[in-house]
Structure formats: C-alpha cells, structure tokens
Symmetry: C2
Subunit: 198 residues, 2 copies
C-alpha cells in the first residue's frame, strides 16, 4: 500500500480477494449486530482471512468499519416522468421497499447512533445520506425549474416532509408502512391538491 510502484491499480489479485472477503464479512456482521457488532476476530473467523492480514490492509477496527460503512448505500435510479407526483411516487415506493428489506435500512440506526459521537462516522453518514436522498432532491429541483413547485420551497424541506414520515414509521413508531400510508404521504406533496379535498 505504500510501495509506490506496483500499487498503481490492483496488480495483485490476492489483495483484491482478501479485501473483498473482509468487507463482505464486515457488512454481514453489521447487518446482524450493527456497527458495534463488528469485531475483527469475528470477521476473520467468518471470511477465512487471517486477522494479521486484515490489519495489513486496515490500520484499526474503526478504519475497517468506516470503510465498510462508506460503501453501503446505492442511490436509486433517477426517474424523470416529467411529473413531480409520478417521480416521487416511484422514488417513495422504492424507498419503502428498501426500508422493509434487510439491507442498509437495518444498519442505519446504528450508524446514526455512532454519528452522534464519532465525527468520522458522522461524515460517512452525511455522505451516505446525500447519496440516498439525491434522487429525491433532484426530482424536486427539476419540478421547481418547471414551475411545478414554488421557487420559495426549499427542495430539502419538501424531501423532509415526504420521507420523514416514512422513516418515522420504520424506526420510531414501528407501525407498518402499508400502501394506504404511502398514499397519505404522497397526497400532501406540492403539485397535488391537499388530501382533505380529493
């Protein structure tokens, strides 16, 4: 990693193989026990890569967790139907599916908790959050340029009103995220009539 000659890309396949295995096992452990559930010994046991090798690639447990953390979320594809309501419906349905599946959704609380006290994790969380929410913000931005949303409305605010209730249901109230609730949330968005006058 420091040699400066051969580390141009990834000349040694052994390195790539080890790193992949380690990161996979780390991610798997995160799913099971949150960030705190990751231990280097257990990662080593799981993926068959020796602990010494792990420490050859990451200087500490924190660095490993942070690395796995940073590669977590995948942005949803950007919809572009020309209608904000339709774009948001697509995005929300994707998000709801993600929230119900065992993936980053089950790790995020742990990340948020850690971010409360660890600046490095806070940075990773910010980046992850940006990635996940970018399509939402972009959809609102475009709608604003089309005049579908008032110029005074901050896209970030609109997104908060939309996804806030979804996150709330998933983690805070732990009520089901059913279709009817999704409808209720969507019907409060700009470009639609308010939900008490349908």
């Amino acid at each position: 990693m420091v040699e400066g000659v051969e580390s141009a890309v990834g000349l040694d396949r052994r390195v790539a193989r080890s790193k992949d295995a380690v990161l996979s096992a780390t991610y798997e452990l995160m799913l099971e026990g949150g960030l705190g559930g990751v231990s280097v010994d257990e990662v080593s046991r799981r993926c068959g890569v020796a602990k010494t090798t792990i420490y050859r690639h990451w200087p500490s447990r924190a660095a490993l967790v942070l690395d796995a953390c940073s590669q977590m979320g995948v942005a949803a594809p950007q919809p572009d139907t020309g209608s904000l309501a339709d774009d948001l419906r697509i995005l929300v349905e994707g998000l709801v599916a993600e929230l119900g599946a065992p993936g980053w959704a089950s790790v995020l609380p742990s990340v948020i908790d850690a971010a409360e006290r660890d600046p490095d994790i806070a940075r990773a969380h910010a980046s992850l959050h940006r990635t996940l929410m970018a399509p939402f913000v972009e959809a609102v931005e475009r709608a604003r340029q089309r005049g579908e949303v008032a110029a005074a409305d901050e896209p970030a605010d609109v997104v908060a009103l939309l996804v806030g209730p979804l996150f709330y249901r998933r983690w805070f109230s732990r009520e089901p995220l059913d279709a009817s609730f999704v409808e209720t949330v969507l019907s409060g968005m700009p470009g639609r009539r308010p939900r008490d006058t349908p």
Copy 2:
C-alpha cells in the same frame, strides 16, 4: 427484593439511595455513550456504589440498562386550546426544544438500534414512544371529535406526518430545526390551508 415481608414499599432508606445513585449514573453514561456505553464497572466508579451492591439490585447489566431505559421519557403536558393548529404548535415547539437539548433525544438512536435486535429493548422503546407521542395523538383525537379533522384520518397518520419530518431533520439529515422549517411542517396539517395557498 425477594424477602416478601419488609419489601412492602421502601422501608430501608439505604436501598432507595443506592438505587437512585445507580440509575442516575446509568442515565448519565447513556447520554455520553448510548446504551452500549454503559458498563457496570463504570457506573460503580461514577456513583460510588459498589459493584456488588449493584448486582444485589439488578440481576445483570441488561436489566439495569433496561430499567434506566424505562424511566427515560417524560410526557409533555396536554395542551387544550380548542384549536388543533394551536395545540399542535405548542406540542411541536416543545418537541423541537427537546430534540435540541441533551436528554433522551441523544439516547433514542441508541435505543432504536438496540430495539432492532433485542425484544426487551423493543418493548421499552414502544412504551417510551407511546409516552412521548400520547399528547400529540390525544390532541388529534379531540380535534376529530370536534369535526376539525376528517373522521377518516387516522390520528397516528396525522402525527406521523407532523413529527416525522422533525425527527428526520434531527437524526437523518442533521439539518437545523429552525423556526421556518417548523412553520413549513405545521402549515401542512389538517385544519389549515395547504402551504402553497397562504
């Protein structure tokens, strides 16, 4: 705790004193490091109560944490102005203040994370959540009986639309919870005209 004769209420002041000190220190440690930041040794060190004494009152670390957890939130006073908008404004401003202060707001992510995998914590979280949100639900219920809210609207849904964005800002997007955002959230509630036609 098992004697059955003297433990009627709290006959021995020593017990009350120890328990109070231990629970206080436990709560303090929670504020600093979340549920995972609580260790029996550290609690003992902090409050000056011997570790053996702690184990005389709680069978395990988990039981202690759970106990401290259960005594966490305090319900806001129930407003009753006769207007849903005003009631909600009062409640929301109280909640925003709480979210900005170092109290249960900084521990909740940790509780949520633990609840994801620990049924006992999940129960404590459900109870805590009920306590914190009860005034909101009650306010909406009353408004519904006054006809201010459509009978078809579930109070829990209305509350989710209201507080979801606040929680989202506090923990997920980590943007400031300023007055203008609070206004944006409040203006989307029933009994008010939608925010794009002021």
